[in-house]
């Protein structure tokens, strides 16, 4: 009974937050609602017994995306100060028709997909049972990592490539001659507390990142979560002015960016020499290879996420 009440509150809260995020007229408010939505979504994933997804949602969905959105909002503010409310309202009315049309269209699409899903024939094999029965061959004991890095490694390889593409996209749309504004304000830089907090958090975040990477083989965790934790540290350094944007990327930084996808692709190809197919790890080497892939991917994800937030091609250390 209490489970039902809790889940009901969670589900209703999720819908309400989604609604607030969409209808809020103030962009800043929308962003805050979105971050809260991410946190509640995390709880939902926990309730659905999917702690891996919950970790990813908390770290990437709420954390890094939240920082990304707030940063974009800040850039908008510098570009053009907030408009007079009345013009916003006028624009609102204009777009209402579009919004209604889009909503109707989305409803039809979602309805169609749901209908198709409901009418799918029963799958011949139960994938969950199949994965569990062959878990011993994967080299790891965590089902999610086994699927992500071994059984469906191809998907993950493409995901990592997509993240890199996203960064390339950001670089492409960024005007080249623009001087990157200092992200931090003097308040953050001059405050003695920020430095103290960073000193305390630095070893802890590196430790937690490494722990998440390592534990991914046995329990919820893995490259994406570890990368997001390390990226959070990078974002803190960027926001507090310890890292400042540069108009060009150094060679070593580029190397870090492609390190993960590179290691992943090399291993994917190399196993073919042992007679396997693409990404078919030899059984005895599987756990080691998965750890190597995850380590490389963690580093690249962390660097990519920080650069996505800073929006600049490169970052350099600034000494305080």
């Amino acid at each position: 009974m209490s489970d039902w009440v809790f889940d009901g509150l969670l589900g209703t809260g999720l819908l309400l937050l989604g609604w607030q995020t969409l209808i809020s007229r103030d962009l800043f408010r929308s962003i805050i609602w979105f971050v809260v939505l991410g946190l509640l979504m995390t709880l939902c994933w926990v309730r659905l017994a999917a702690p891996d997804v919950a970790l990813a949602e908390a770290a990437i969905g709420a954390g890094v995306t939240g920082a990304l959105l707030l940063n974009a909002y800040r850039a908008l503010l510098i570009d053009k100060p907030p408009r007079h409310p009345s013009s916003v309202v006028a624009r609102h009315r204009q777009t209402t028709a579009w919004a209604v049309g889009l909503a109707a269209f989305s409803t039809i699409v979602v309805g169609g997909i749901s209908w198709a899903l409901l009418n799918l024939p029963q799958a011949g094999v139960d994938l969950g049972t199949l994965v569990r029965s062959r878990l011993a061959e994967s080299g790891v004991s965590n089902v999610v990592t086994a699927v992500l890095l071994n059984f469906r490694g191809y998907d993950t390889l493409l995901e990592v490539a997509v993240l890199l593409l996203a960064l390339l996209g950001v670089w492409t749309v960024h005007p080249k001659d623009e001087t990157f504004s200092e992200a931090s304000s003097d308040f953050a830089q001059n405050s003695p507390l920020v430095g103290a907090l960073l000193h305390l958090l630095a070893p802890l975040l590196v430790l937690i990142g490494a722990y998440l990477l390592w534990i991914g083989a046995y329990a919820p965790g893995g490259a994406f979560q570890a990368g997001a934790v390390l990226a959070a540290f990078g974002v803190m350094l960027y926001l507090s002015g310890r890292l400042t944007p540069t108009p060009t990327a150094t060679f070593s930084l580029k190397l870090l960016l492609i390190f993960g996808p590179g290691v992943f692709s090399l291993i994917a190809l190399a196993v073919m020499f042992w007679g396997g197919a693409l990404l078919e790890y030899p059984k005895d080497w599987a756990s080691l290879l998965i750890l190597a892939v995850e380590t490389g991917v963690t580093i690249s994800i962390a660097v990519t996420l920080v650069l996505l937030v800073s929006g600049s091609p490169g970052l350099k250390r600034t000494y305080q």
């Binding site: 304000s185 507390l193 920020v194 305390l200 958090l201």
Partner: protein, 109 residues
């Protein structure tokens, strides 16, 4: 001796619940403060103080329920991290608000 044991077990069951509920009360008070207090500084005060104590009591109540030292230490770590993060972010928000106040009064005079 037997009576003492039952007393202990009853206490054991209630201490955790009391701590968690007390933590919830602090959260509630903090939220009411955030909504009802007149200006930014008092709101920050309500929010951070209440959240720190609320989370502390919550973690303490949960520590009471576990037999594992590792979990207890993790809960403690969560509380300490939240303490640090909320203290620093509160300080930064207040600092910025003070700066804004100063510049706006300068502009008026």
């Amino acid at each position: 001796m037997n009576e003492f044991d039952t007393l202990l077990s009853v206490l054991d069951a209630w201490v955790s619940k009391t701590l968690v509920i007390l933590g919830g009360v602090f959260y509630l008070a903090g939220t009411v403060g955030l909504l009802r207090f007149p200006d930014l500084f008092t709101r920050l005060h309500a929010l951070t103080k209440a959240d720190n104590l609320g989370l502390g009591l919550l973690c303490l109540g949960l520590v009471w329920q576990t037999n594992s030292l590792a979990i207890a230490l993790k809960l403690l770590l969560i509380w300490l991290l939240a303490l640090m993060a909320s203290a620093v972010s509160c300080h930064l928000i207040a600092r910025y608000a003070l700066y804004e106040q100063k510049t706006s009064t300068k502009g008026q005079s």
